[in-house]
Symmetry: C2
Subunit: 212 residues, 2 copies
Amino acid sequence: MQKKPYISMSVIRRLPRYYRFLVDLDRRGILRVSSKELAEKMGFTASQVRQDFNCFGGYGQQGYGYAVHQLREEIGTILGLDRVHKCILIGAGNLGKAIATHISYNFAGFELIGIFDRGEQVVGQSLAGLTVLPYGNLRSFCAENKPVMAILCVPHTATESIVDDLYALGIKSFWNFSHYDISLKYKDALVENVQLNDSMMTLCYRISEIEE
Amino acid sequence: MQKKPYISMSVIRRLPRYYRFLVDLDRRGILRVSSKELAEKMGFTASQVRQDFNCFGGYGQQGYGYAVHQLREEIGTILGLDRVHKCILIGAGNLGKAIATHISYNFAGFELIGIFDRGEQVVGQSLAGLTVLPYGNLRSFCAENKPVMAILCVPHTATESIVDDLYALGIKSFWNFSHYDISLKYKDALVENVQLNDSMMTLCYRISEIEE
DNA sequence: TAGATTGTTAATCGATTAACAATC
DNA sequence: TAGATTGTTAATCGATTAACAATC
């Protein structure tokens, strides 16, 4: 509850994992957890867990541990999971469908308010409680509903022109599943990349390494 | 071409990005590239690029730069992209379908040889050139074809028992899209996690942060 | 030769771990 | 009070950046 603590990006990247774990403990009615226990379950050191929680004050009690529910809430607040950022999805292929379903099951700060596709057969389909709209409707939809984030599930060859459109319509945050590099052109865009290809190549390296 | 250089994991995680970029340059017929140029395009420093390439000998020439094609090949070899690791996919929902399609387009060290699902309607469908098989066939299929890696696109509640089955059948490498934590139970398993949830929460943090 | 750019060492920075006093 | 466990400082480790001599 400090006023805007500085939290480094490496800590931020760990917060979702803590959060997921705490949600599970909370659901099971467990009230307290020690840094040692958390560390073991998550593959960190106890020292690191305490260091991490100290960034934002924490809810630790010496000799006792951390109050699960409070800590969970605090981390949720820091991550902004209690907000409702309106977002749209571009591309309703298999991946787009998976993400749309995923996002509607996993409330995490976002509300999906529109899905767009260029394909004749896809437009009009029902998906995650929404109807897939034609890409041509994008402009009027954005003017009216003001989404702040766009999820890009389109082939990477199509991504550039779509990002141009979206950026012009005022969307500057992207969850990008294509491997087109948005930041190269739009320096001030906020981009979270999910690079399946990179993940696959890294896995390939690790498997190849143990094989020889 | 050194004999097994040590490359740190942070460098490894950058190699796919270099690789993708070099493939692009190579395709465009560009023969040389400097560390400065690469750095600018990828958001690193030139120093880091040189440091990275030095881990494995590199193909740099002073006063000239790096030979694109050779460097690309070398990185590909290090990543093991020239290998063919046989893998299977469990779960042919939207995400599974997307991954199956993805992997068959993006050759990167893996060959998808089997797809399994428990759902009546899905089994028998054709996907990425394969027919979706019933989960019950898993044992005999593995005995015969010896896949080394499994892609998990199943709900996280189902993951544990599936991993138990796979591990017993000799599969110890996983590309895991569920958020069940495999490493907790199987310490020697090689796991590459794709945590969509974590990625979404991190994005939420970053958007929330700039909003206030 | 002069200019460019690498390879490599040294300096800096940040993140992780260890240690222990504070305190519940 | 004794035991447990945090909060926090100091030590270590590793990764990034800067600098420049080597050399194409």
